[in-house]
Each structure stands twice: as C-alpha cells, then as structure tokens.
C-alpha cells in the first residue's frame, strides 16, 4: 500500500489515531521501505527539534524578565482610577455614536420590541426592551431579551448598569441613569451565547472593554443583590 508523505509524517509525529493508525502499523510490519521512511522522518524531526537549543541555556536578558513581571496595573480599583486620566465620556459617546451609525440599517440595535437605543439630546438613550430591563430587571432574574449584569454607583452618585443582549446579533454595554433616562455610555458587539442553564457571573458575560469602562468610573464595589433591589425600588434616584 502506498502512503503519502503527509501520512508517514503524521505517523512519525504520533498524530495518526484510530483505524488510520492501525492500518498504517499493519503495513509497517510488512514493509521495510515504509519503516525506513518513518525512521528518516523521526531522525530529521529530532535534528530539527534541536535547532536553536542553545538559546534555552542562555540567561534570559533582564529587560525581558522585567517586562514579564511588571507590576499589574490593577492593584486596586481605587488606585487604578487615581493613577490614570478621568474616563472621557465624550470619547465613549463618540464610539457609541459610531456604532449606531454603523448599525442603523441593520438589526443589531433592534430587539423584538423595536429599537433598543435611540439618539436623544446629542446622546444615546436606552429605549424599548433595554430601557424596561434597565429599569426593572435584577441581575438574578433570568429570561427576557436583555440581561442585566453589574449595577454600581459612580463617584458623582449616579447609578450605572451593564447589560447584554444575546438575541439576534449580540450586544453588550454600559448605561448610566441621568435626568430620568438611561444614557448608553458604551456598547459593543458580542458573540451571542446560547441560553445556558446554571448561574453565570458578570465576569464571564461582560466583555473586557465594558469591564474596563466599569472599572474606570465605579465608586466602591458593585451593588449586592439587596442594594440593587433597593436602588431599583427607589427608581434609580
């Protein structure tokens, strides 16, 4: 039987499995030429594998160790906030505005009940199912088009909440309560996740850019379940 170079190589590398490997080994037992091909592959693999081996024994330059062990930026949220410029709402609003412009023609911002975000007063506000969820839904409550993640207060005292939409094209973002409406501060496309049983944490459901925005403006810790419920019952004022 004739085996391709690719098959001989895969066998020599231990990458053939199951019936393919069995067939190969049966042929190998009777074919000295095939055995020689495998041996040659293995010999060259060993030779190639030794290339640049000297590098492993060299001391690693100090600058590389320093780069790998640099202090993590997040010592605490408070220190991180203090050590960098204030979160620039204008940039975020511009980013969100770009997204909206990009999707007006599409379905990204439309849930089953119509638009999730509307332009208002030069900004973007939650509407429809998103507005309802931000007003009423607790993070622990399942179901619905919109899932709410973290709720927290900013240094200015206002409330903000993260959200996620997995219906249609996915969407995740951050909205803050201002002047009686939810201003969408940041929104980003996400890969929709199939509905899953069991409990999921905000950390797994919230994209890194949204978490970064939260970290930039949060005062203290996110609200716990009781705090969230009290804030909702108080109308987020």
């Amino acid at each position: 039987m004739n085996f391709s170079d690719e098959t001989v190589m895969a066998y020599a590398d231990g990458e053939l499995t199951g019936p393919e490997r069995d067939a190969f080994e049966a042929a190998l037992a009777e074919d000295a030429g095939l055995r020689a091909r495998v041996e040659e592959h293995r010999a060259f693999a060993a030779l190639i594998g030794g290339a640049h081996a000297g590098v492993l024994a060299e001391p690693v330059p100090e600058r590389l160790v320093a780069a790998a062990t640099r202090e993590p930026e997040v010592v605490s949220l408070a220190e991180r906030r203090a050590s960098r410029p204030r979160f620039d709402w204008r940039a975020v609003a511009a980013m969100a505005a770009c997204l909206v412009v990009g999707v007006t023609a599409g379905a990204l911002w439309r849930g089953q009940g119509g638009a999730l975000v509307r332009a208002s007063d030069g900004g973007l506000s939650a509407s429809g199912a998103l507005d309802r969820a931000l007003n009423r839904r607790l993070a622990s409550e399942p179901g619905g088009v919109v899932k709410v993640g973290l709720s927290f207060r900013t240094a200015e005292g206002g409330y903000c909440r993260t959200f996620r939409v997995d219906k249609g094209e996915g969407l995740a973002g951050l909205a803050c309560r201002e002047d009686g409406r939810w201003r969408v501060r940041l929104a980003t496309a996400v890969e929709p996740q199939a509905a899953q049983g069991g409990y999921r944490t905000a950390g797994t459901d919230t994209p890194p850019e949204v978490l970064s925005a939260v970290e930039a403006i949060i005062a203290g810790a996110p609200l716990d379940a009781a705090g969230e419920k009290a804030a909702r019952d108080g109308g987020w004022r």
């Binding site: 190589m9 895969a10 592959h41 030779l47 190639i48 640049h52 790998a68």
Partner: protein, 164 residues
Amino acid sequence: MDAFQREMVELLPRLRRFARVLARDSADADDLVQVCVERALDKRGLWRPGTRLDSWMYRIMKNAWIDETRSRARRGRVLAPAEAGENVADATVASLETRLQAASVEEAIARLPEDQRLAVALVLIEGLSYREAAEALEVPEGTLTSRLVRGRAAVMAHMKGGAA
C-alpha cells in the same frame, strides 16, 4: 508577580527560541519577545485559564511579527539576512561535527518560506500538536500539515544534498 506572570517568566526561554526562528537576528528576536510579553500582559483578560499559555503566546508573537515585518516593509528596510551558522557558538553544543550540523539545520530552516518556517518551528522545535500549532497560527489543520510536510521535505533535501 502573580501566577500568570510566573508562568510567563518560565516560558521566556522558549519564547526566545521561537523568536529566534522568526527574526533570526538575536537582538531583533529579543525585541519581539518583549513586544509579545507586553501585549500578553495587556490582553491577559482574554486568555482563558485552563488553556495552554504557550500556544496563546506563540500566537501573539506570530501576530507581533507580522506587524513588524509589515511596518519594516513600509519603511523600506530589508530584513536581516539569514547568517549561516550564526548560532554556532552555542556553548552547549559540543563537538565540531554537531555544531556544523546544528548550523546547517538552522540555516535550512531559515531558508524556508515564512509560513513553512512557522509550522516547522511550532511542531518540531516547540513540540506543539498539529491542532495546537494550527490554532496558534490561526489556520485550518489541513493547511498546517501541508506547510509542515513541505517545510520538512525542504529541510531534509537541504541537509541531504547540501544544495537548496
């Protein structure tokens, strides 16, 4: 230093080796490792614990290298030429014969087209499985194996015939 960083420090020798295959020039290679480490730290939130950190970092390095070669091409700089036997002076490689062989295999690898060179380096030098190497290079596994078989044949031909 946390666990993520400790693991990264342990990987540094292997990252340097992989970088040496990519960049050839050893100073360029270490610059590449530094860029890779910095990007990995910035993006650490995107690494899924429980998956292989080395494969993830090889991917970051591959992308950093692509960025670097593109910007060099824009600046009109020529890539450092492969210097035969550049790494011959490895103190760990004992006899003259072995050193010549190592130089020759490194030269053969350096002559490979980049896509084959990466496949050969990840599987045969860094010891990744075909699937892991395909993921690190962000190509289908079939593409990886065909690059690997061609790259390997070219190295074998070079070593056996001396010509390339």
